[in-house]
């Protein structure tokens, strides 16, 4: 077993509850030591997939391998995984150290070793001094730490986290994100993290699997997902994307040209699986669009519109521009670092343009 082999291999995992199929043909690997997120709206199957990894749910089909061992028929208590539950599932009849030490009773180690490991885990999650607190005396953040320590103390090969930060308020959540990331670097364990919050996923993860309707749409690094979404759904789920309708004209050498009709022509990078003649969208991120006052001629990757609203957000300004022929208003972020090109006020005619390298063609 070398460091290159994946820690988790999912092959054709299917999960049905009665007649309802919640996971279809899930097929990917998770690498050793990475912080991997399953991102998707509620009901996309991400939590079910996590519970299948934990052995709490059994897949209806397909195979799962963890660290080279096939997991079919292996119950939750025999798997090298531990989980941080969304509700934290702190045992209410036990105190902090009894909760954390719960799993160690099932491992053949001496009482002294167990005590030492619990103490170590308490220090790791910064719960010093709370060892004998009762479960019901803990705050939300403290419960979350107990749940984390309780799972980590068992030294799992994979730590599974089911939306562990969703119950915390915004400030605490942001602090915990940083801490979780640092913790993962320290312990070096593979983390599989379920979340519906795209910002959280982008902040924390080495790689993210975007899920929808029981399928994995794309697996990539945060940068890859943002820069090169492989479909409209991913583009819409991760960040904001402007979409200009067009028809694909030709593809050559990873470059494509499209006819936007009254919008002019577009060029950019084509997503996989689109062919000339097909209706597409030219997709451009808001911060990649340049906004200029006045009516420059419509040309390649340049369209005209009228500013309908401007929000000043401190570091940048957020423009909403109506472009005839484009359904949703175009959103443009403009850094306030730039010297005021301030003539483009609300109601002004503007020209929007972008570099071909920043445009992506996605199938409609």
């Amino acid at each position: 077993m070398t460091a290159d082999t994946p820690i988790i291999e999912l092959r054709g995992i299917v999960k049905r509850f009665g007649t309802l199929t919640v996971l279809r043909d899930i097929d990917f690997d998770i690498r050793r030591g990475e912080f991997f997120s399953l991102l998707g709206a509620s009901g996309c199957g991400k939590t079910t997939l996590l519970r299948i990894l934990a052995g709490i749910e059994q897949p209806s089909g397909g195979t799962l391998t963890i660290d080279g061992q096939p997991m079919t028929g292996v119950p939750a208590n025999k798997r090298p995984t531990n989980m941080v539950f969304q509700s934290y599932a702190i045992f209410p009849h036990l105190n902090v150290e009894e909760n954390i030490g719960y799993g160690l009773r099932n491992i053949a180690i001496s009482k002294d070793d167990a005590r030492a490991r619990v103490a170590e885990a308490i220090a790791l999650v910064k719960l010093d001094g709370l060892a004998t607190r009762n479960a019901h005396q803990l705050s939300g953040g403290q419960r979350q730490r107990v749940a984390l320590a309780r799972a980590l103390v068992c030294q799992p090969k994979v730590l599974l986290l089911d939306e562990p930060l969703s119950a915390l308020d915004k400030k605490l959540r942001e602090d915990m994100q940083q801490e979780l990331r640092a913790l993962q670097r320290t312990v070096g364990i593979t983390f599989v993290f379920v979340t519906h919050d795209q910002e959280e996923a982008l902040t924390l993860s080495d790689r993210i699997a975007v899920m929808s309707g029981g399928k994995v749409l794309q697996i990539d690094t945060p940068k890859g997902l943002y820069e090169r979404p492989n479909c409209l759904e991913v583009a819409g789920f991760v960040g904001t994307m402007n979409l200009f309708p067009a028809t694909l004209r030709q593809v050559a050498n990873g470059r494509a040209e499209a006819d936007g009709g009254a919008l002019g022509t577009f060029s950019g990078a084509p997503a996989e699986g689109i062919a000339p003649g097909k209706p597409i969208f030219a997709a451009v991120r808001p911060e990649k669009i340049l906004i200029a006052a006045g009516q420059a001629p419509v040309g390649e990757n340049a369209v005209r519109g009228r500013v309908s609203a401007i929000s000043y957000l401190g570091d940048r300004s957020h423009y909403i521009v109506n472009v005839p022929g484009v359904e949703a208003p175009v959103q443009v972020y403009r850094s306030n670092l730039a010297p005021a090109g301030g003539d483009a006020g609300e109601g002004a005619e503007v020209t929007l343009s972008w570099d071909a390298a920043n445009a992506l063609f996605l199938g409609r």
């Binding site: 054709g12 397909g62 195979t63």
Partner: protein, 319 residues
Amino acid sequence: MTAVSEPVAASRTRDAERVRRWLRGYGLLSPALAVMIAMLALPVAALVLLSFWTQHGFELDRSPTIENYAQLVRLKDEPTVWFGIPFYFAYPVPAILMIKSLVMSLSATVAVIALAYPMAYFLAFRVTRNKAMWIILITIPFWTSYLLRVFAWKIVLGFNGAINSGLKALGIIDQPLEFLLYNPGAVVITLAHSWVAFAILPIYVSLEKIDRSLLEAASDLGDSKLKRFLRITLPLSAPGTVAAALLVFIPTVGDYVTPTLVGGPGGTMIGNLVQELFLKQNNAPLGAAVAITMMLIIAVIVAIFLWAIGYRRIRSRRM
């Protein structure tokens, strides 16, 4: 990537696992279920069987016959008149007692719901502190000896009882009021008192479950307090109220203790007849037939009642 077809062995393991899980569940259930079958299903079946046999003196005739049931409905020409109602039955006692029991039990049920609903409402909406204490206070009487609670009414209503002696001591009456005890009214009061605590809990639970924002919304939309109660609270607490009514009605029809202690000759119920047929007249088969008929009549009444009020609809409205 192409889908990897699922290995047959893995699928089998999963099915076997699910079946094993079911077997474990049924295994855990089996001792209690065995007791229930041996001590409820079988005895009731035996009771049914017995009702098709006949008793001749000390001899039990095991040849199957519907004679016992026929005896309950056999007609004659001369009616037995009871409260102005002519009964054309040759053996009118069971029919009269059945109707009497139903009327008394129904009156008691109505009284119970009328008494319990405001109390449940009070617990759900008015009590803010010491709620647990109040609930315990209300439930204690139900758990303490049924026999003694019924007997207490004998002390209250009796010829030399608390009411009579109290009124006499106060100089309000000279002679004890004899109409207090040993009549159907005494039975109904006692039944209502004995069961009212039992009825509060289901009603309370259904009131407590009502989302308070629904009430706020109703007020916001212009309902007065009374209208809001009639349009929101009452319909949403219907399932609990219906459950409470049934939990009182069904067992009280066959009650034995209350009519025996406070009913007197005029306040006897069908349960007294069953007891008498079994223990005094030594006619267990006829007693069994009476008991079974009583159960069937109760079941039919309950079914008609649930159908008439559309219980399924009421229940499904719960979110």
